[in-house]
Symmetry: C2
Subunit: 165 residues, 2 copies
């Protein structure tokens, strides 16, 4: 509403421009996951393990249910991943203090080590892209990504790193 309707300003909403954005998203996501993927394929782990490790690292002592909400998969699917991570000694599952039905998850020392390895690789690529693009571009990048999220995921996205998730 109320945008100036010059050719130049409306152009960025044209089908062609939006299609190019879609393709950019597709190709960029491949770069985004490639480095961690390469590390993981040398082990018996995949992208699902990476995601679990990432969000456990970011929200230590998170519950299984909270993790389910963030990852958007079924408990059976997550459970299969967690089972191997726990069996391999990368993740620790503790019964909740107040609610003993809950399991609180945290990385072990070995888990934290792998997390650092994966995160370092992914952040290095991301940081290189950020540096190449510059701060204003990064701000725009973040703005558009946020606008693309579903509302409930946007809330979860903002809640990460806060005190009580």
């Amino acid at each position: 509403m109320g945008e100036p309707q010059t050719d130049d300003v409306s152009h960025y909403l044209s089908d062609e421009q939006v299609r190019q954005g879609i393709e950019a998203m597709f190709f960029a996501y491949r770069g985004f996951t490639r480095d961690p993927d390469r590390i993981l394929e040398t082990m018996a782990y995949g992208r699902a393990h990476h995601r679990a490790i990432h969000f456990i690292a970011r929200s230590p002592s998170t519950t299984v249910n909270n993790l389910l909400g963030i990852l958007g998969v079924t408990k059976q699917s997550l459970n299969r991943v967690l089972r191997t991570l726990i069996a391999d000694g990368l993740v620790e599952s503790r019964v909740g203090q107040s609610d003993k039905r809950e399991r609180h998850l945290r990385l072990t020392e070995a888990g934290a080590k792998l997390e650092r390895q994966l995160s370092d690789a992914q952040r290095a690529r991301m940081r290189d892209a950020y540096r190449a693009a510059g701060p204003e571009a990064v701000a725009g990048f973040r703005t558009v990504l946020e606008a693309m999220m579903e509302a409930d995921l946007r809330r979860k996205y903002h809640a990460i790193g806060e005190q009580d998730p």
Copy 2:
């Protein structure tokens, strides 16, 4: 090199900011695929079919080999998808004129109809996000995504829509 090193400018490259970008990418990608996914799950198709349909629509008469390069999967994997799309009359495969080993792919009328349906849904979300973020943010978004791509994919990304791919 040579960036001014004030707190404000270096902050966007901090681990915390980069991590947030990684998470934004993860959550946004879910929104990015969600609308087409919902349409596809009512049929016997998945995301792999969508990708094939998308790039055939964008580069009509593309060859199997070219598509393989863009999608980054094995020929067996792509062939499984193409086989069903051809059998269902959504994609047409023609023997090449100059090189008869090649198969040139294009959408049939039915294929183009599904492509429009999927593309409309995905572009609508993307356009809403673009509009909410504004043209400068979109420019930054595109810049960062390009910087995240692998070099060979960046070339392919730019080659799409050109005369001779």
